[in-house]
Symmetry: C2
Subunit: 394 residues, 2 copies
C-alpha cells in the first residue's frame, strides 16, 4: 500500500486547544506524593539519553548501589521498577508466588488488603491475619498465624500509609526462618525516612516508592529481592506470569548482560539518582533523625491544640501522622479549605478510617521545622472556624 | 517497641559519594527514546501536585481527550498506563485474554515475538503467522490464518520498530469483524507521527509509548480499548490477573468516580499533557506530513551515498529507517564512533537483523530538515573511514 494514497479526513472532535501548563505550587502534606527536592526536579528536566547508552548504564549502577545503602541490604536484585510503588509491590508477588502457594497477609490497613488482592490474582492460597486499623502485630500473633497456615510467604506492612502505624520488626525475620517462609515487607512510607535494616531484619522481598522519603516525584518503584527469594524464583515451574515485572528478564538488563528488556524511563531515573545522592549526602542516620524530630514537634503541637492522634506514640510513623477529626467538624471541608485557600494538601482517611481521620505527611524534602510550624499555625488559626460553623449550624 | 531504642550501626559499604548529575546532551536518532521537546522537559520539572487534586483530575481529562484525538478514536477507555510502552502492551493482553483463548500473533519482527511471549503468560493458546523481518502481511495471508486458527484476538504491529516496516491496514478490521475476533494493534512507533485512524480501521485495542512521535521522555504507555474489547473484559470469568494494569480498576480512577488506585506519576503526566498539546497545536496532519517529508529526504540522501535501505519504499516507516550495513563495515564500531565523538545515537539491529542493519529514527521533535542534513553529512564524512579501515586491514 503506497503511503501516497489519499488519507481519510482527520476527525477534529477530540482536538482541544489548551493553554501551556500552569499547575500551581502546592505544599504536599498528604500521604504522598510529597514535594520533590528542586534539584531532583532539575534532574528530571535534563535531555534524555539512550537506555543502552554507556553513561546511562553507569547511572543505573549508581542508582542500584544507593538503593542498597538506603535499604541497608546487599541484595544484588535491587532496582527501581519502571512504574509506581504499586508496580513494585506487584513485582514482589508476581515473581515469587506460584499457583497454590499459601501467602499469609497481615492486614491492619488498606495496603495489607491490596497485597491480598494482588496475591490472589497470582493464584495464591491467601490467608489473612487481621488487626484493627491503627494497631500493630505482636510476635506471638504472627507466630500463631505462621504455625496455623504454614505459608510460603508472610507479607507485612512496615509503614501503613492508611493508618500511620510503624510495625515493630524485632524478631519477625527469625520467626519466618524458623517457619521456612519468605518475609515480604512494604516499606513505601518508611524508606529513606524511618529506620529500615532490611538484611538485619532478614527481609527477603521489599518494595517502596519514589515520592515519599526519597523526595522524588512518583513514577518509580524501588524493588529488592534477597537470595532466598531468588531461589524461589529460579525454582519456578513456569514463567513469571507478568512479562513487564519479570525479574529474571529485568536482571539481564540491570545486571552485567545489559540485554534490552523495555525502554527505561530514563528521566525518572535521572531524578531518582539525584534523590538518592542527596539522601546519601545527608546520611541515612541524619535523615531518620530529622524525620523523627520534626514529627515529635508536630505531635506535641497538635495535641496542645486539643487534637487526638489515632496511633499510640510507640507505634507512630514519623512520616505520616493520623489525626482524629474532632466531633462535628467536616473533615473534607477543612481539607478543601486548606487546599483551595492556602495551597496546602493534607490527606483524608481510607477504608474504615474514611471520614474519621486526617493524614499529615512530613516526608523527605518536606520534613522541616518550618513546615511543622506552618502546619501548626494553620490548624490553630483555621480549624476553629470549622468548629464554629458547625456550632452555629447546629 | 519504642523508637527511642538503640538502633544498629548503619552499614556504609554501599554509600557512594557522587557528583551532581551531569548527563550529556545527545541527539537521539535511534529507535527511541528520541529527544523530548524542551517545553515538555520544563513541564516535567514542575512541582508535583496530588494525584487526587482537582487540578490534576482536570489535567487527566485533557490528556485522555488529546490521546483520543491523536489516535483518532472515541474510545472512553483511553489513558496513559503508569509505565512504559511495554506496560501498555501487556495491559492490552492482561485485560482481555482468558486462559485458553486463542491469540493469533502476526510476527514479522521483534515486537511480534514479545506479544506472543506475553500472551502465553496469560495462558493464551498462542498461534503465530510469520514473515521475514522487513516484510508486511497481505490481507490474504491474514485471512487464511484467521480461518485456520479462529482466534479471539489478532495481534498485529502497525510500525515494527525492529524492521522499519509499516503494516498496511486497509481491510484488516473488516476481516477481524467477519471472523469475530478482536484486533490489537501496536502503534508504538507510529502514534503522532504516521497516519493512524484507529476507529476507521476498526481496531479494538492499541498501545503506544511517550518517547517517540509524542516528543516526551519514556515512562508512560498510552493505552486504548474499544467497546468490543470492553465487552470481553466485562464478560471475564475471573479477575484480571494483573492488579496494576487492571483497566476495570483504573477506570474508576480515570473515569468519573475518581477512586484511588495507585499514586499517579504526576510529573510524567505533566510532560504528556504538554507533548499532546504541542502536537494538537501543530495539527496531526501537519505532523504526519513533516515526518513523511523529512524521511523522504533522508532516504534519497542515504541512497545517493550508495547505501541500501532494508525495506521497500511502499512499506517504509517515516519514523524509523533501516539501513543495510555495507559489507566489511563494523556497524557497531561506527555507532560507537557517532556516539562518543559526535554525541549522536543511532540504533543497531535486533534479533535476526543484529549486525546487519542500522536503525535511524526521526521522531517527534527530532524530525527536522536540519537533523536530516546533519545525519547525511555525518554518514558522508565518517562512514568512508570505516570502509577504508576495513579495506586496509583486509
Amino acid at each position: 500500500m503506497a503511503t501516497t494514497q489519499t488519507l481519510p479526513q482527520v476527525d477534529q472532535s477530540h482536538k482541544t486547544v489548551l493553554e501551556p501548563i500552569a499547575t500551581p505550587s502546592r505544599l504536599l502534606f498528604g500521604p504522598g506524593p510529597s514535594n520533590a527536592d528542586p534539584k531532583v526536579l532539575q534532574a528530571l528536566a535534563r535531555s534524555p539519553i539512550g537506555h543502552l547508552d554507556p553513561l546511562y548504564l553507569e547511572l543505573m549502577g549508581e542508582v542500584q548501589e544507593l538503593l542498597r545503602y538506603t535499604w541497608q541490604t546487599d541484595n544484588r536484585f535491587t532496582l527501581p521498577m519502571s512504574g509506581t510503588g504499586s508496580a513494585a509491590m506487584e513485582a514482589t508477588l508476581a515473581n515469587t508466588v506460584e499457583p497454590g502457594d499459601t501467602v499469609l497477609v497481615a492486614v491492619n490497613g488498606y495496603f495489607g488488603n491490596r497485597l491480598a488482592d494482588m496475591a490472589a490474582r497470582y493464584r495464591a492460597n491467601v490467608q489473612l491475619i487481621e488487626k484493627p486499623w491503627g494497631e500493630a502485630f505482636s510476635l506471638a500473633e504472627l507466630e500463631a498465624a505462621l504455625s496455623e497456615h504454614r505459608p510460603a510467604i508472610l507479607a507485612l506492612v512496615h509503614a501503613e500509609t492508611s493508618t500511620g502505624v510503624c510495625q515493630p520488626m524485632d524478631g519477625v525475620g527469625d520467626l519466618c526462618h524458623k517457619h521456612d517462609c519468605l518475609l515480604l515487607l512494604d516499606t513505601v512510607t518508611s524508606l529513606g525516612a524511618v529506620p529500615v535494616f532490611l538484611d538485619q531484619w532478614k527481609v527477603d522481598l521489599s518494595y517502596s516508592c519514589s515520592q515519599k522519603g526519597l523526595s522524588c516525584p512518583p513514577g518509580l518503584g524501588p524493588f529488592t529481592m534477597g537470595p532466598r527469594a531468588e531461589e524461589k524464583l529460579v525454582a519456578r515451574s513456569s514463567k513469571v506470569p507478568n512479562w513487564y515485572l519479570d525479574v529474571s528478564l529485568l536482571n539481564q538488563y540491570w545486571g552485567s548482560d545489559r540485554v534490552y528488556h523495555h525502554t527505561a524511563p530514563v528521566n525518572m531515573n535521572f531524578g531518582m539518582r539525584e534523590a538518592l545522592r542527596l539522601l546519601a549526602d545527608e546520611g541515612l542516620e541524619n535523615a531518620w533523625d530529622r524525620h523523627r524530630c520534626n514529627a515529635e514537634v508536630l505531635w506535641a503541637g497538635l495535641e496542645s491544640l486539643g487534637l487526638e492522634l489515632h496511633v499510640p506514640e510507640a507505634l507512630r510513623l514519623p512520616t505520616l501522622t493520623t489525626v482524629c477529626i474532632p466531633n462535628g467538624v467536616d473533615g473534607n471541608a477543612f481539607r478543601l479549605h486548606l487546599l483551595n485557600e492556602h495551597g496546602i494538601e493534607i490527606g483524608g482517611g481510607l477504608g474504615s478510617l474514611a471520614g474519621k481521620i486526617w493524614r499529615i505527611g512530613l516526608m523527605g524534602y518536606n520534613s522541616t521545622p518550618k513546615n511543622v510550624e506552618l502546619l501548626l499555625n494553620l490548624f490553630e488559626s483555621e480549624l476553629p472556624r470549622f468548629r464554629e460553623n458547625v456550632a452555629v449550624a447546629a
